[in-house]
């Protein structure tokens, strides 16, 4: 093929039609709290691991809902389960159980 010196760039747009409902429902069965997050970011702000690395439950939840499973996992693998987020969450989401199960269902 002729080399043009440039290529098609893939779009960064997320297509929600392609969202994997099955996996997500599995997660919902174990920890329905994921639905009630209002993305206030308190968890991320207080996160012990967040001080050193890209850990953010808030982002992970959003990425997951946008079908970016790998991205979500990467935002959580630094978690030390210390539980600060559970305490600051205004919606009292059971964050540790959520994190643990997201990693269980979506990693590798």
């Amino acid at each position: 093929m002729t080399n043009f010196g440039f290529k098609l760039v893939t779009s960064s747009r997320v297509n929600l039609d392609k969202f994997d409902k099955e996996k997500f429902d599995k997660l919902l069965k174990i920890e329905p709290d994921i639905r009630i997050c209002m993305a206030c970011g308190a968890c991320t702000a207080t996160c012990s691991a967040g001080k050193f690395t890209e850990t953010s439950l808030r982002k992970a939840i959003l990425l997951l809902q946008n079908g970016d499973e790998k991205g979500a996992v990467n935002k959580l693998i630094g978690c030390m389960l210390c539980g600060k987020c559970t305490i600051v969450c205004p919606r009292s989401i059971n964050t540790r159980n959520l994190i643990n199960n997201i990693l269980k269902i979506y990693s590798k």
Binding site: S12, R13, V14, N15, L16, D17, L28, P32, R35, I36, M38, A39, R58, K59, L62, L63, Q65, N66, D68, R91
Partner: protein, 342 residues
Amino acid sequence: MNNNKNILIIGGGPAGLEAAIQLQKLNYNIILIEKSDHLGGHLAEWDRLFPDGVKTKEILDKLVNNLVGVKYFLNTEIDSINLLNGSYNAILSNGITILAKAVLIASGFDLFKAERKQEYGYGVYNHVISNADLESYFKDGKDQRVVKNPRRVGFVHCVGSRDEKVGNIHCSKVCCVTAVKQACEIKEKFPDAEVFCFYIDLRMFGRGYEDLYLKAQQKYGIRFIRGRVSEVAENIKNELIIKAEDTLSGKPIQVTLDLLVLMSGMMNSKSGLELGEMLSLNKKEDGFFECKSSIYSQQFSNKKGIFYAGTCTGPKTLPDTFHEARSAAMEINTYMNESNKE
């Protein structure tokens, strides 16, 4: 009859009706005029009310039943009105002339015309409807634009509100919670549908609103996406393809919908504005009438003997409107007593 007891109420919506009822109790002669062919204003087109889904009919029946003895004309507008030694002399479109000591303007609001936001394709695409359309669908289930068992339904908040492009920088206050209410109702009607709400800010300011929001997430699994829908298109199957950004994850998103509901905001009503011209009433930049004081005396206009109630002075919830109607009645009563003493 005694003109000193005449009060002209303009607008047969919740504000007008409630004020009429209260003033009637104080033995004034009320003349209420309504431009449309029915009482109740927008309330009559709505199905259920936030936050707890009360049927509008209950409220409406209450109002109309308590209306006994109030003279009202439907399909009637003001042709001309002017001050005539201390009273307002109004000539109605049905030929009748009224001399009233006080005039209560309860002319209410017009819903923003969704088609003005062309990128959303209201009136152009087959499955784009407005919040009002959805309410009437909930009432009679007739609207053909709503497909059977939609897979995905979207709600666009702030259509014609907080939008300089259409000249409305103001927030219409009630659309957020209305959207959440309607989203829940959609899920009740179509449990398998995925529902998305596209918002700029969620303004759950009222009592019970936040609970409704939580319920929408928890019970109905409605997805709230912070980001304004930028464009809507139709694919070859006549489904809607909408583009927005999930600003919280900073990702542009696209989703195919079977139904898109536009949350049209509130604007001062056209007829109200015309009346404002006739009486040279002050407006604010948002197009709604200016109250004498935005904090203390909301019921007073810049003209003696002319009072306001309801959404003609800015977007309001129904409870707000009823409070205003009642306090307007009180103010008018005081005004009548004083001016009759003179």
